[in-house]
């Protein structure tokens, strides 16, 4: 492979466990050039060293408030500055505390800014680039939580649901161009720092970041529009979505 044909991949939220696993997964099938964007520079440097040792070339770090809508345009410039991106992953997200989000305007706005508004800006930025180049793949981390509003996390769920609509609409927008694809990944439980506060985590319902990354990579390569990860969440969410309201409202989910 020559330098020219090495794909340029942008990872937004590169410090996320799933994003890191995704980079490693990509590198198993050959060298890629990586732009790692995130908030925490030392953490990004650690990941840059890891992917470099695994064969990534030309690794670039873009450090900044990736979840702040006001910052996205100039960060996007930096990410795209060194050449066209052919694959982008938008991985960051915040779960937060639903109780706090219900009662604090600041928390609620922050949640939607991070998970939805900034992510939409990144997505539109990459979409525009792909349109210009005539090709590209975008992968966005959604969540099964977007499938039905539940008392414990409907605000987070709403932010992910809206992201799903955006991905869905973009897939429609690019339906005529097989060279451009948008993939929305909907994981269930993943064992990452985001879920460390959950008591008794572990067991068959929990996936490793590598598992989710592998499924995301496969789906993006196959240009799928969306997927549950792992697949069994499709059936679980089918049931959750189809429960009649009177029954659903009796649950504590």
């Amino acid at each position: 492979m020559t330098e020219q044909t090495i794909p340029r991949v942008a990872i937004i939220g590169a410090t996320s466990a799933v994003a890191h696993a995704y980079c490693r997964r990509l590198l198993q099938s050959g060298p890629v050039s990586l732009v790692l964007a995130g908030r925490d520079r030392p953490a990004l440097e650690r990941i840059a060293a890891d992917v470099t040792a695994r064969g990534a070339v030309d690794v670039q770090i873009v450090a900044g408030e990736i979840g702040d809508p006001a910052q996205v345009p100039q960060l996007l410039e930096q990410v795209r500055g060194q050449g066209p991106v052919s694959l982008a992953l938008i991985a960051y997200g915040v779960l937060g505390d639903q109780k706090a989000q219900q009662s604090s305007a600041q928390e609620l706005v922050r949640l939607f800014n991070v998970n939805l508004v900034s992510a939409a800006l990144w997505a539109e930025g990459f979409a525009a680039g792909f349109e210009q180049a005539g090709s590209g793949r975008l992968v966005i981390m959604g969540s099964v939580a977007g499938d039905r509003g539940r008392q414990s996390n409907y605000l987070y769920g709403a932010s992910k649901a809206a992201l799903e609509r955006i991905a869905q609409g973009m897939s429609h927008r690019f339906a005529g161009n097989p060279e451009i694809s948008v993939t929305l990944v909907k994981p269930g439980f993943i064992d990452t720092p985001m879920t460390d506060h959950i008591e008794g985590k572990g067991g068959p319902m929990w996936a490793t970041p590598d598992k989710i990354a592998t499924l995301a990579d496969k789906a993006a390569t196959a240009r799928r529009n969306s997927l549950y990860a792992p697949f069994f969440w499709r059936w679980i969410m089918l049931i959750v979505r189809s429960l009649p309201v009177p029954i659903f409202h009796k649950t504590k989910l």
Partner: protein, 442 residues
Amino acid sequence: MTGELLSWGRAHRFQQDRYVLSPELLAREGLARVVDAQRSVIPFGLGRSYGDVALNEGGTVLQTPRLDALIHADWNTGIVRAEAGLSLAMLHKVSVQRGYFVAVTPGTKFVTLGGAVANDVHGKNHHQAGSFGAHVRALGLLRSDGTRLTCSREQNGEMFALTIGGLGLTGLIEWVELQLKPIGSAFLTVENMACTSLDEFFTLSHDSADWPYTVMWVDCFAKGKAVGRGIFSRGRVLDDGALEPHGDKGLSMPMTMPAFVLNKASITAFNRLYRMRPGARFAGRQHYDPFFYPLDAIDGWNKLYGPSGFYQHQCLIPPDEARKGIREMLEIVEQAGQGSFLAVLKVHGPETSPGVMSFCREGVSLALDFANKGERTLRLLDQLDQCVARHGGRIYPAKDGRMAAAFYQQSYPRWRELEEARDPAFSSSFWRRVTQEQGANS
């Protein structure tokens, strides 16, 4: 975080806190948040030690697997520096395609670099390569007071030598720099052959000294002259350029697997098994995964022993006493009728690892598994210890959960040096057991 954390033998159920170390937090504030005056800490890798070296009743265990990044790799020389929570499985996913393998591997790939250093693990090539520590170029140690030490043979050499085989007591190993071994293939040429007696085992080991990997699976039900019979296995890495790493699932290669090893659920007489199993007479090409890690193919095989778990007993007997000592051990096991399903015998070479407290020395090691049947099993294990002691041997802390303090102190006479170098905030159930037990201060 709470939730039960068990070691591989599942025989110890302790109340302890668990704390998942994050690389970001470690970089920012070291161990400040996890160390307090009341509770000691001990690192916990992938929990593949069988007993209590990585457990800490009443204290905290620090889980390391998120410290799994490579820091630097030179694929021309095979020198790799990585965080200590990286597993051999993950390392090989990267290194094998580039023609490198760890110089020493234990019988499972699900061990972390930190765990491999702290127990100074050994493999089937001990007679040629020594223990894991012999191939460690340097390591980074984080002490509870926030000090970061780079240790190597040249720099902080004493701390280096006490950390290798130091059972996690000298502080948190943050990273390890290894010299990997170049390989020309991910496959080995393997010969498995019948061995009919203990004498033949010694002859086969002697004649196979130029084979890099040798080991024997022993039949513990053999009596009299047949004591020591088993299947002797030797292997050598090929040079055919097929550098494919292991798959994500345990490979199912029944043909090439020493399947009798896995058949521990049924205590069939060895003879019958031997005649029936084609795998037992195998000569051919085998991938490293089934060759080095046959048990990894069965996820959670350790649970087959049921809720009480099991004990391992691995001893090392010095060369002069080995023939006699090993025979006596096998006779004790046979007479006790408690059937060890997995018994492994191996001739070790002179030790080249700098580890002061390392288990390995020149001699012969025997590893045995016993379902935990309470007192009966503990009595048998004590009897085996006495036999080991009589022959000037020692047992392996990584596999131990019950040896008497006096025996430990007698067989690891330099233990006080480790106690001196121990980080004051670090301790384990194992360490308190073997150093603080009553009547053990001789």
